[in-house]
C-alpha cells in the first residue's frame, strides 16, 4: 500500500518537474533554454531512477531483516554501508560476525597490569566461604560443620535456611578453624586451614545426555555448585524451581586491570565447553556468550568456537565487558524476566564437576595494582586469604587491598579473604593526603573523563590512582555525565533520583531491573557530586526485591 503510494507520488513529481521545465523551455526563445530543458529532464530521469533503486534497495534490506538473514551481520544492501566505507577495517575474525559497537563508556588505564605468567608457587594457608557474599539468602545459614571439623574439598559447610536445598561446600580440604560472626550473629565467614595435599569428595557421575533438568538441578545442588550461578534482576542466588529465560556469560572483562580471560581459560577449554553444555540444559532459552571484539587478535578459541551457544561480539570501552551491558544489547531484562549470569571461571568449575567428577575450586587470580613489586597471575583456590597472596610483594604499606577491581570491588584487610566470585585482587595507594588547591591544579596523575585535566589530551597515559575522593559530597548539580559512561538506553540520573524518593513505578519504568552495582560503578566514578551511586542502586534493588 505504502509502496504504491510512494510510486504514484514519484511519478507525479517527475511529471510536474518535466512539465514545468517544458513550460520554461517553450516561453524562452533563445537556444540556451533548450539546454536548460534537456538538462532538467535528464536530472529528473536520474532522480527517478535513483529513487526506484533506493526504494527497492530498502525493500531488500527490510526483507533480509524480517527473514532473519541480517542477524549474521552481513550487509544486504546494494550499496556499501557507511561503516564499510569509513570504519577501520575489521580484523579477520570479526568479518561477518554479529557485532555491537558501543560509543559511550570510559577505560580507566592504571599502572600495575598483571604480567602474563601464572605463579603457582604462592599458596594461601587459609581459605573462607563468606555467606555475606550472597544476596537473597538468610543472613544466618544453618551450619553443617563445627569448628575443628575435618573437611574434604566439596564437603558441605552450611546451607540456606530459607531454601535448605542450597548448600555451600568447602573449596579446599583441611580443618575448619573459625566460624566468624558479625552483626546480629550473622555468619560472615567460615575459615578453613588447608591441607598441603588436597583431598576431594568424590561425586557420582551424571549422564548429561539422558538426565532431566530436575535431576541435573538436584545434582548441582548436592555438589555445591549452585552458588556459582547469579540471577538477575537484583544479582541474587538463583531460583532452584524456575528455569531462567536465558543465560549470559561475558568472556572479557574491561574493568581497570581486570584479568585477561582468554589467558585464564588456556588449558581449560574442555571444562569450559562442558560447563556451557550443562548451562544449555538448565535454561529454556539460549546461552549467550559475549565476546571481545576490540582487539586485533581473536579471543581464545574456547570462546570463539564454543558450541551450543550464541556468540555476540562487542566493541567499546568499559563497561562493555560487563554482562549487564551485554544483556541490554542482546535481549534486555524486562519485568518478570529472570536470567542467569556466570563468570568464565565459574563456568569452568561447573564443567569440572563433570570432566573431573569433583568440586575443583582452583582458580587463577590476577594480583594487580601499582603498589605491587610484581603484578602477576596467581594460581590458588576460591576464597583465598588476601594477605597470603601478596606476601612480600608490596612496595608500599600505605595501601588499600581490594577484592575485585577498583570500581566495584570490596575493601579488605590482609586478614580478610577474597570474595566468592572475584578473580582479581587490586592494591592501590590510600590517598588520605591534603592537596593545596587540588580543585584547581592540572594534575597529570588523576584519572578523569573531564577535559579540564591535561591527561585528557594524552589518551594512552596510565595513572597511579589513589583512593582520595577529590572533593566533597554535593547535591546532584551537573547533568549528562552519567550518560557518557553508561552505554544503555537508560536515564541514570533520573533513575537514581527515583530511588532516593522511593518511587517504585518509576524505578521499574526507568529500567532498574537491568542494572546491578558493577554496571553503574563508572557513573559513581565520574560523579561530580561524589554521590554513592552503587549504594543508592542497591537500596533501590532491595526495595524492589521486597516488593516482589
Amino acid at each position: 500500500m505504502k509502496n504504491s503510494a510512494s510510486k504514484a507520488i514519484i511519478t507525479i513529481v517527475s511529471m510536474l518537474t518535466a512539465s514545468a521545465a517544458w513550460a520554461q523551455g517553450t516561453t524562452g526563445d533563445s537556444g540556451g533554454s533548450s539546454i536548460v530543458l534537456y538538462s532538467l529532464i535528464s536530472v529528473a530521469v536520474l532522480v527517478f531512477f535513483f529513487i526506484v533503486v533506493q526504494v527497492s534497495d530498502s525493500l531488500l534490506v527490510i526483507e533480509s531483516k524480517q527473514s532473519g538473514a541480517a542477524a549474521s551481520g552481513a550487509n544486504f544492501s546494494l550499496f556499501p554501508s557507511w561503516k564499510e566505507l569509513f570504519a577501520p577495517r575489521l580484523p579477520e575474525y570479526l568479518q561477518h560476525k554479529p557485532m555491537t559497537i558501543l560509543k559511550r563508556g570510559h577505560d580507566i588505564l592504571l599502572v600495575g597490569e598483571a604480567a602474563k605468567v601464572v605463579d603457582t608457587g604462592i599458596t594461601a594457608k587459609t581459605y573462607a566461604v563468606q555467606p555475606v557474599n550472597f544476596i537473597g539468602i538468610s543472613p544466618i545459614p544453618k551450619m553443617l560443620v563445627e569448628e575443628g571439623a575435618e573437611v574434604k574439598a566439596g564437603d558441605p559447610l552450611f546451607q540456606d535456611k530459607i531454601r535448605p536445598e542450597i548448600q555451600w561446600v568447602s573449596p579446599v580440604s583441611g580443618e575448619v578453624i573459625a566460624i566468624n560472626r558479625g552483626e546480629k550473629r550473622a555468619i560472615t565467614s567460615v575459615v578453613i586451614l588447608a591441607d598441603k595435599e588436597m583431598k576431594y569428595r568424590k561425586l557420582s557421575s551424571f549422564d548429561l545426555e539422558g538426565g532431566t533438568r530436575e535431576e541435573l538441578v538436584t545434582y548441582l545442588l548436592d555438589a555445591g555448585a549452585w552458588p556459582l550461578i547469579r540471577q538477575r534482576p537484583f544479582d541474587v542466588m538463583a531460583d532452584t524451581d524456575e528455569a531462567p529465560r536465558d543465560i549470559f556469560i561475558s568472556t572479557f572483562d574491561t574493568a581497570p586491570l581486570a584479568p585477561d580471560l582468554s589467558f585464564v581459560v588456556e588449558g581449560k577449554e574442555e571444562a569450559f565447553q562442558k560447563g556451557l553444555d550443562v548451562l544449555g540444559k538448565l535454561t529454556t532459552g539460549k546461552v549467550h556468550l559475549g565476546l571481545d571484539g576490540r582487539g586485533k587478535q581473536a579471543p581464545s578459541k574456547a570462546f570463539t568456537e564454543a558450541k551450543g551457544v550464541e556468540l555476540h561480539y562487542f566493541h567499546g570501552q568499559h563497561p562493555v565487558g560487563n554482562v549487564g551491558i551485554q544483556i541490554h544489547h542482546t535481549k534486555p531484562i524486562g519485568a518478570g524476566d529472570k536470567v542467569w549470569t556466570l563468570g568464565v571461571q565459574e563456568v569452568i568449575m561447573l564443567g569440572r564437576l563433570f570432566t573431573e567428577g569433583r568440586y575443583n575450586a582452583e582458580r587463577i587470580i590476577a594480583v594487580t595494582g601499582a603498589e605491587l613489586k610484581e603484578p602477576k597471575y596467581v594460581h590458588t583456590y576460591m576464597g583465598a586469604k588476601v594477605g597470603d597472596l601478596i606476601d612480600g610483594n608490596l612496595s608500599n604499606d600505605h595501601v588499600r587491598l581490594i577484592s575485585g577491581d577498583v570500581l566495584s570491588g570490596a575493601k579488605k584487610t590482609a586478614e580478610d579473604f577474597l570474595d566468592f566470585h572475584d578473580d582479581q585482587l587490586t592494591v592501590v595507594e590510600e590517598g588520605d593526603d591534603l592537596t593545596v588547591f587540588g580543585w584547581l591544579l592540572p594534575s597529570l596523575n588523576t584519572p578523569s573523563i573531564s577535559k579540564t585535566f591535561p591527561s585528557a589530551f594524552l589518551p594512552k597515559i596510565k595513572f597511579r590512582a589513589e583512593t582520595n575522593t577529590h572533593g566533597e559530597k554535593r547535591a546532584f548539580v551537573v547533568t549528562g555525565t552519567y550518560e557518557k559512561v553508561l552505554p544503555m538506553d537508560i536515564h541514570p540520573q533520573d533513575l537514581f533520583k527515583s530511588i532516593l524518593v522511593g518511587d517504585f513505578e518509576r524505578m521499574e519504568g526507568l529500567g532498574i531491573y537491568e542494572l546491578i552495582e558493577e554496571d553503574v560503578a563508572l557513573c559513581e566514578f565520574v560523579c561530580v557530586s561524589k554521590q554513592p551511586i552503587q549504594h543508592i542502586l542497591r537500596e533501590g534493588l532491595d526495595m524492589m526485591r521486597e516488593q516482589s
Binding site: I108, P256, P332, G334, A335, G336, D337, R400, I402, V406, L407, K411, V428, D432, D433, L434, V436, F437, G438, W439, L440, T446, P447, S448, I449, S450, K451, T452, F453, A465, T467, N468, T469, H470, G471, E472, R474, A475, V477, V478, T479, G480, E483, D489, H491, D494, R506, G509, L510, G511, A521, F525, V526, V528, S529, K530, P532, I533, Q534, H535
Partner: protein, 422 residues
C-alpha cells in the same frame, strides 16, 4: 609552603562548638585551600578528579575575558557620551580605571550579600559551603547595567539567593536560574534602573546634551593626581554630554525604527565586537563565543542546548522576515544576532545544569524553545526589547515537564518491549 599553610590553618581553626558559624566559614576556606584528604568508603575505590569546585571555577574562567572587556567598555561608553577619546583604545588608562572603580563595588556587594546568605544557611543546616554561588556571583555583575545602585543590587541578590535557592533547599535544588532571578527582580521592582535608553551609560547625570559627567572623589582626588604625576590625561569634571548623543541600545532603535536606524548609530562590526552600550558583560560577541567554546571543549556546558537555542532563534527570526509586519521583523535574521544579549544568554544562562532539562533529548527541545520564545519576546513585546531573561526563566519552569515526557517515552519503550517479549 604546604606545611606552613597547614600550620596557619591549624592555628586559626575556631572551636566548632563555641562558634559554629565561624567554623563553617573556616571549613569553607579550608576546603578552598586544600582538597580534603577524605578517602572513598564502599562503592568505587578511586574517584574522578572532577568535583563541583573545579566545575564551577572553569565557568568563572570562561567569564574572565568578559570581565576585562566589560569593565573597559563601561569606561569607553562613558567617554563616548562625553565626546572624549572616541577611538576605542585612546584614553586607555582613564577608561580602564573608570570601569574598575565602577565594577569593583558591584562585584563586592554581590558576593558579600550572596555568600553571606550562603554561609549562613550552610552553618544553619550543618553542611559544607556549596559552590553554587561561585558562578552566580560571577554572572550577576555582568548582566546588570553599569550604573545600578548598590542597594538595589544587594536587594536583588538577596532575593535571588534567599527565595530562589535557599527556600528550595540550596545548591542543586533551585527551579529558576539564580543570576537571572536577581536581574528579573530589578526588572520588575525597579524597572527604571534597568530599561530604557538612559541606564546603559555610566556616570552621567542624564542623557541630554550639556548634562554634566559625574565623578567621585576617588577619580578626582586619588587618580587624577597619580595620572598627572605621570603626565597622562586626567578625568575632566567639567565635561558634558555632547550634542546629538543618545544612549539608545541597538535593540530599542531597531524596535522603533528598524535596521536603518540601528546602522545610523552603530556599525555592524561595532555591535559584533561590542563597543556599544549595554549590560556589562553582554556586548562582546566574539569573547562570549570564545567562552562558550571553552565550556563546550571542557565538557562543562552542554553544546546541545547552545546549538538548538541558536537554531530556535534563527528559525524564529527567519519567520519574522517572512512575515514582515513591523520594522523590527524586517531586520535581516542574521543581524538579530548582532544585537542584544543572545550570545551571553546562550553560553552562560541557558546551560545552567540545575535549571535546564536533564535528559539529552530534552536539552534539544529546551534550547530550541528558549531560542524561539526569546525571539518572540524580543520582537513582539512593546515594553522591553529583549527576551532572553524572560524566555529562560519561562523555560526553566517548563524543564521538568519536558523531562517528564522524555522519561515517559523511555518508560513506554521499555513497557512495549516487555509486552512484545511476553
Amino acid at each position: 609552603m604546604k606545611k606552613a599553610l597547614l600550620k596557619f590553618f591549624e592555628r586559626i581553626e575556631p572551636d566548632k562548638k563555641k562558634s559554629p558559624f565561624l567554623h563553617t566559614l573556616y571549613d569553607g576556606f579550608f576546603t578552598f585551600a586544600f582538597t580534603p584528604g577524605t578517602v572513598t568508603k564502599g562503592g568505587v575505590h578511586i574517584r574522578d578528579g572532577m568535583d563541583l569546585k573545579r566545575q564551577m571555577v572553569h565557568v568563572v574562567f570562561a567569564l574572565l575575558l568578559l570581565y576585562l572587556f566589560g569593565m573597559y567598555n563601561v569606561g569607553h561608553q562613558h567617554f563616548v557620551a562625553l565626546g572624549q577619546y572616541p577611538a576605542f583604545l585612546s584614553g586607555f588608562h582613564l577608561k580602564l580605571i573608570y570601569g574598575i572603580i565602577l565594577m569593583l563595588p558591584i562585584f563586592v556587594v554581590t558576593h558579600v550579600v550572596g555568600l553571606g546568605i550562603e554561609f549562613y544557611y550552610a552553618y544553619k543546616k550543618g553542611h559544607g559551603i556549596e559552590e553554587g554561588f561561585l558562578v552566580s556571583g560571577a554572572l550577576i555583575p555582568l548582566i546588570m547595567p553599569p550604573d545600578i545602585p548598590l542597594w538595589i543590587l544587594a536587594l536583588s541578590v538577596a532575593f535571588a539567593v534567599w527565595i530562589g535557592k535557599e527556600a528550595f533547599g540550596g545548591t542543586g535544588m533551585n527551579v529558576l536560574n539564580i543570576a537571572l532571578l536577581a536581574r528579573v527582580f530589578v526588572f520588575f521592582a525597579y524597572p527604571t534602573y534597568i530599561s530604557g535608553d538612559e541606564v546603559w551609560v555610566a556616570g552621567l547625570e542624564k542623557i541630554a546634551a550639556g548634562a554634566p559627567a559625574h565623578y567621585g572623589w576617588i577619580h578626582l582626588s586619588v587618580f587624577n593626581p597619580i595620572f598627572e604625576s605621570f603626565g597622562w590625561a586626567i578625568y575632566d569634571p567639567a565635561a558634558t554630554v555632547v550634542d546629538g548623543y543618545s544612549g539608545a541600545t541597538p535593540l530599542s532603535l531597531a524596535f522603533h525604527s528598524g535596521w536603518e536606524a540601528v546602522t545610523s548609530h552603530y556599525t555592524p562590526a561595532q555591535m559584533w565586537w561590542g563597543a556599544i552600550p549595554g549590560s556589562v558583560g553582554e556586548t562582546s560577541k566574539p569573547l562570549i563565543i570564545i567562552g562558550a567554546l571553552f565550556l563546550i571543549l571542557t565538557n562543562i556546558a552542554d553544546w546541545r542546548i547552545m546549538v538548538s537555542m541558536l537554531g530556535g532563534a534563527a528559525v524564529m527570526a527567519m519567520l519574522y522576515n517572512g512575515w514582515g509586519a513591523t520594522e523590527f521583523m524586517n531586520v535581516p535574521w542574521y543581524y538579530q544576532f548582532y544585537m542584544g544579549s543572545f550570545w551571553f544568554a546562550m553560553a552562560f544562562m541557558a546551560t545552567d545544569p540545575v535549571t535546564a532539562t536533564s535528559t539529552g533529548t530534552g536539552k534539544y527541545i529546551y534550547g530550541f524553545l528558549i531560542g524561539a520564545v526569546g525571539m518572540i519576546i524580543r520582537v513582539l513585546n512593546p515594553a522591553y526589547p529583549e527576551g532572553w531573561m524572560l524566555a529562560i526563566l519561562f523555560m526553566n519552569v517548563f524543564a521538568p515537564l519536558i523531562d517528564h515526557y522524555v522519561l515517559q517515552a523511555n518508560m513506554n519503550r521499555r513497557m512495549k518491549r516487555a509486552k512484545a517479549s511476553a
